[in-house]
Amino acid sequence: MGEEVHNRRWLGVGRSALTDSAAAATQAVTEAQTGPDPKLLIVFAAITHDTEAVLAGVTKAAPGVPVIGCTTHGEIGVGGPADGTVTVAAIGGAGLEIATRAAEHVSGRQADAGYEVAACVGDVRQPHRVLMLLTDGLVRDQESIVRGCYRALGAGTPLFGGAAADGWRMSGAYLFKDGQVLTDAVIGAAIASEAPIAVGVGHGYRTVGQPMIVTRAADGRVLTLDDRPALDVYLERLNAPPEAYTDPSAFTAFVLPRPLGVQRRSGVEARNLSTEVDLEGRTIGGGGAIDPGGLTWVMTGDEESILDAVDRVCQDARDRLEGHEPIGMLTFSCAALRAVLGDDGIQRECERLQRWAGTMPFAGFYTYGEIARNHGIDGFHNQTLAVLALS
């Protein structure tokens, strides 16, 4: 990458493992600012940090620079996966243009909130554009947020993003925007560039056994599969241990690495069933409505299949840059994958990302849901890796 390109468009990554939240943020931001004219700081902070102090530390290191960010279930970056850090991606240069917008009180009006934040795309002029979204991972029906963005933008603007996490506490995930800590919110950032920007997404799971037909569904949940209680059918297919039928935490632990596959035209979509447990009603659900008549499958994956997916996603994103040299990547991986990969496995996941990144920087986090849309009108995913590559 030549110095001239670097001055026009750059992405830098910084990370700090300091326990003092403000100091960690200041250190990470300072390290991430590797070029002139910073346009946006994207802050990924562990849930253990004091969020107000993180933002104070960010402002101290880069006053006046627009900031977005969120809490995580682990931070991804150069040097591998980490827990407890502040990891920052900074982008800047004259060839890049940024506009941000936030919407609050999202629950109950998800689509409208998505529609509102998408308006930031109207504030940028560079020809290559992506709308990046950060959502509160504890808000239900994230698909509708993405649908709202699509209604506003149409087919021409790719979408990318992730849902803020809280380290499996499930009590509160937080978003950052310019000195404010938000919850029940969504943040949109229009990233526009003079050079191509690419989005890639994919999962490493495969279907097992016969398909199951959704015979009854209501309120976004599957009541019966093949005319029997959905939860029992699903657990039986997987030879689940007896405690998974009765103990909510055993159920969560068992289904976390075993998503439900939903048949779509271009393949089988993976849905995480672990967060909305209903042992009493014997229903299953998660990641958006599955309608009556739907074909579903049980799915499994392992480290090899998930790492293969990393390769596919990175290759796809790179191909979409149309031959332009990448300057950096944002990498959002599903928090549930940590349950399959384990601590050693996520190390190898990051090594695989590093192999694709080469000398260019990358950063991201373990999410409660990934957003990526190139084609079609949907773009909210579970159990995937989503990559944004800038050139």
């Binding site: 097992v208 016969q210 008549g293 079609g376 009108i377």
Partner: protein, 488 residues
């Protein structure tokens, strides 16, 4: 038999039906249909055109949709739609008829729409037509009926029916709900639903009734002799006033003298399938245009229920053998392929058992096909009783079955299952009032380090089955495939 792709299209149609039928008004129904059809076909653009205007669309920023281009597509003037950011996208259109005809238009980046996908879009247009007609009937009712209570009752009836359909409640229960609702709302004594068993049958049987006297095996002929027959022949609403014009069957079924009757046709997957009838014993009863529309709305709900119920049956048939309920050959091979990949990745072993019944042909020839089918069903039950939850049994055709043991610890493990199956099938079976004995020959093949293809693994089990048959002379037994089998 439907393939996986076709099953997916049926699924998408049912999903669209569920979403659109729950819409409270026309504008929402059209917007939902547009977005849902785009989602199902993974298309970037979808639009509905009614009376030459784009009434809903997705895929363009607000105010930026090329309405003129989209309308031109419905006149087949273009087949490629330009979408900013994507370029030229192949498009497909489907029209619907009815009182307010319209078009559904979809455009997708990439290759053109397949023939099956074009059929799916046509089906979606039909679902939208049915829903719009129903919603308009509600609006028409709203305008015509003064009583708020009446309107509320119609709405409640229709939405209860729609919910029952999309929740897949028992078909008979749904049909009874509809006939009860029609009778209640129109204030008549009798409501009947006639349905043809076969599309080309010349008669229809009584599928549901409310307010009638019992009659032995009620049927109606498809002739103009009855209002139901007339509706089924003409595909229009038939109305008769005056007791002398009523059919013989209505005279039999009516609690008293019937003075007026009205029948509306019902359809299954677009094909004329029966008639919904109301009849009154009131000498002054005169059916109005509003009554006709109400009956039509109920009849359309019958059509939706029948179409949906048969969709479920077709979905099952696509994957399962109708005689035994076991997985079909296609499904078995698909699953085997997936499980082989899993076994390969996790380093464990999988086994395939190939079963052939030794005396099946004699029984089939001497006792007939019905007894043969019964024997196969009993056999299937006994085989599956020997399997674990993750294992799969399938009927391969004729008297051949295949079983996949998803995980075995070695040949002895698979052999134990084979032995259990041989023993279970050696027990006499009660079929066609006779005690029959059949024997089964079982061939066993294990996935190994050479990573055989699914068909190769089944072929190996088949070879071993022949060895078992030869070794045990058709008295039942098993053999395990090993490389030397062919020359053994």
């Amino acid at each position: 038999m439907a393939g996986p792709a076709e099953s997916l299209y049926i699924q998408q149609l049912v999903e669209l039906l569920a979403v659109v039928s729950s819409s409270p008004d026309e504008a929402t129904a059209v917007q939902n249909a547009v977005e849902r059809s785009a989602q199902a076909l993974e298309a970037e653009v979808a639009a509905a055109v009614i009376d030459g205007n784009v009434v809903a669309s997705i895929g363009f920023p607000p105010g930026a949709a090329p309405d003129d281009e989209i309308v031109a597509m419905t006149r087949e003037q273009h087949s490629i739609l330009y979408v900013p950011g994507l370029g030229g996208c192949p498009a497909v259109t489907a029209s619907w008829a009815g009182s307010h005809p319209g078009h559904l238009v979809l455009a997708r980046w990439g290759g053109p729409f397949q023939v099956e996908e074009q059929n799916l879009v046509r089906g979606m247009a039909r679902v939208l037509e049915l829903t719009l007609t129903m919603l308009r009937t509600l609006v028409a009712e709203h305008a015509m009926r003064e009583s708020l209570q009446e309107r509320q009752r119609l709405l409640e009836h229709l939405s209860a029916i729609q919910r029952a359909i999309s929740h897949r409640e028992d078909l008979q229960h749904i049909l009874d709900t509809i006939t009860d609702g029609a009778r209640d709302l129109l204030g008549d004594e009798i409501s009947l639903l006639w349905v043809r068993d076969e599309p080309d049958a010349g008669q229809a049987r009584l599928a549901s009734a409310a307010g009638t006297r019992p009659v032995d095996r009620p049927v109606v002929d498809l002739t103009a002799a009855s209002p139901a027959g007339e509706a089924m022949v003409t595909d229009r609403v038939a109305v008769r006033h005056g007791n002398e014009l009523q059919s013989r069957m209505l005279k039999l079924l009516g609690p008293r003298t019937v003075h007026a009757s009205m029948a509306a046709p019902v359809h299954d997957s677009g094909v004329l399938a029966g008639a919904l009838v109301v009849a009154s014993c009131d000498t002054n009863r005169r059916y109005t245009a509003a009554d006709e529309q109400t009956l039509r709305a109920f009849a359309e709900n019958v059509s939706l229920a029948l179409t949906d119920a048969n969709t479920v049956v077709r979905m099952r048939e696509a994957h399962h053998d109708p005689v035994t309920g076991l997985a079909s050959r296609g499904l078995f091979l698909e699953q085997l392929s997936q499980q082989l990949a899993v076994a390969d990745a996790n380093g464990h072993t999988l086994a395939v058992l190939f079963l052939d019944l030794d005396r099946f042909k004699d029984i089939n020839d001497s006792l007939g096909h019905a007894a043969g089918d019964q024997l196969l069903a009993v056999t299937a039950g006994r085989v599956t009783a020997q399997l674990r939850a993750g294992d799969t049994a399938s009927r391969f055709g004729g008297d051949e079955f295949a079983v996949m043991l998803a995980r075995v610890d070695g040949p002895q493990d698979a052999a134990a299952v084979a032995r259990r199956i041989v023993t279970a099938l050696a027990e006499p079976m009660r079929v066609a009032e006779q005690r029959l004995r059949v024997a089964v020959s079982v061939g066993v093949a294990l996935s190994g380090t050479d990573g055989p293809e699914p068909t190769e693994l089944v072929a190996r089990a088949d070879l071993a089955m022949y060895e078992a048959k030869a070794k045990h002379r058709g008295t039942g037994g098993y053999a395990i495939y090993c490389e030397t089998v062919p020359g053994d």
